[in-house]
Symmetry: C2
Subunit: 200 residues, 2 copies
């Protein structure tokens, strides 16, 4: 009577709880420790850990141990924040075509959304993302200064997410926007977005 839950599910639940209450980077119990604590074989403990790895809650470093994954929010919301990485995982080749880039003067309402003073120019970057040639998404990034440091980078095929991390801005929270619409200031207040928050 194993009832409804397999042993490894039980262990995985225990680890999930740990991973949620421990700060990012904390070390989790090793496979050997789990074996002893739960009285299972190593493959069973391993299966539990791998479930968390698949969910990106945890990272394993060979020879070192198992650690709570950093930047949990972007991983939580999933792939669009890192299109390239997501496609790579699936064995597809991510590519992108630059549709447009340059400088615009935003309309007053756009300026408000970007927290810019009216009349100040903004940089625009717009790309068509493809997975093995099939168009999947359009990305458009409007950023006051940061994009300037990206213009000229290897943007045709690269990952915006990585690029943003290189210059020290990790996307924090995301606003998923079904059907295009401006995100009013009210939304950002509800989400507690900081000035560096990138809005999706």
């Amino acid at each position: 009577m194993t009832r409804n839950r397999a042993r490894y599910e039980e262990i995985a639940a225990h680890l999930r709880a740990l991973a949620r209450e421990l700060p990012a980077g904390s070390r989790l119990p090793s496979e050997a420790e789990l074996c002893e604590r739960f009285g299972v074989s190593r493959m069973t403990a391993r299966q539990a850990v791998q479930q968390l790895v698949a969910d990106r809650l945890v990272e394993r470093r060979r020879g070192a141990g198992t650690f709570v994954a950093p930047d949990r929010v972007p991983r939580l919301l999933g792939s669009p924040l890192s299109f390239s990485a997501s496609m790579r995982r699936r064995g597809l080749t991510a590519s992108s075509r630059l549709i447009d880039r340059g400088r615009i003067v935003p309309t007053p309402s756009e300026a408000a959304a970007l927290r810019l003073a009216p009349g100040v120019g903004a940089y625009v970057l717009e790309r068509l993302r493809r997975a093995d040639g099939t168009p999947m998404a359009i990305e458009r990034v409007d950023r006051p200064r940061e994009v300037a440091e990206l213009l000229g980078d290897d943007i045709e095929t690269g990952s915006l997410h990585d690029a943003f991390e290189r210059i020290g801005h990790t996307p924090s929270r995301a606003v998923a926007h079904v059907t295009a619409q401006r995100a009013p200031a009210e939304h950002r207040r509800l989400l507690g977005l900081g000035a560096n928050g990138i809005v999706l």
Copy 2:
């Protein structure tokens, strides 16, 4: 000299290729067949298959076999298209709070984006999505008629993705929109969006 690729990676690559060229629902080789063909033990073959399962490229049915997963595009782009399911997988409780809903008369440009005749009203649905109480995303759906059939549903906590599927519209492609901006008609042409395509 295993070189750079583990046996199970090799098998996984082979299966990925199969899964991509076969139509959805096709049966893939069983674990036993993979064992024989690649000369590995069952646990190794299994590891390869489970990699594809984690990527949602494949579904396994106990007692039946392994099959190419249906509706590949929404799964491909990941979670925001199905927030509830994504959170469930991570052991979190997805909830949502209705921010606003009702009828609006879109501005001319909004009407164009929705492919509506000017002056015709549209239904708006706007929700704050939370994972275990932490606000994660704002969803806003503008649809001419379909949303009407959702108003009154169990929308406070439910899944939009599921709801859309119930009434026969499966989200097809997605436009990921970094920083809020309207998606001009040009974008949808580039992506080849149909009238039922839901824009993210």
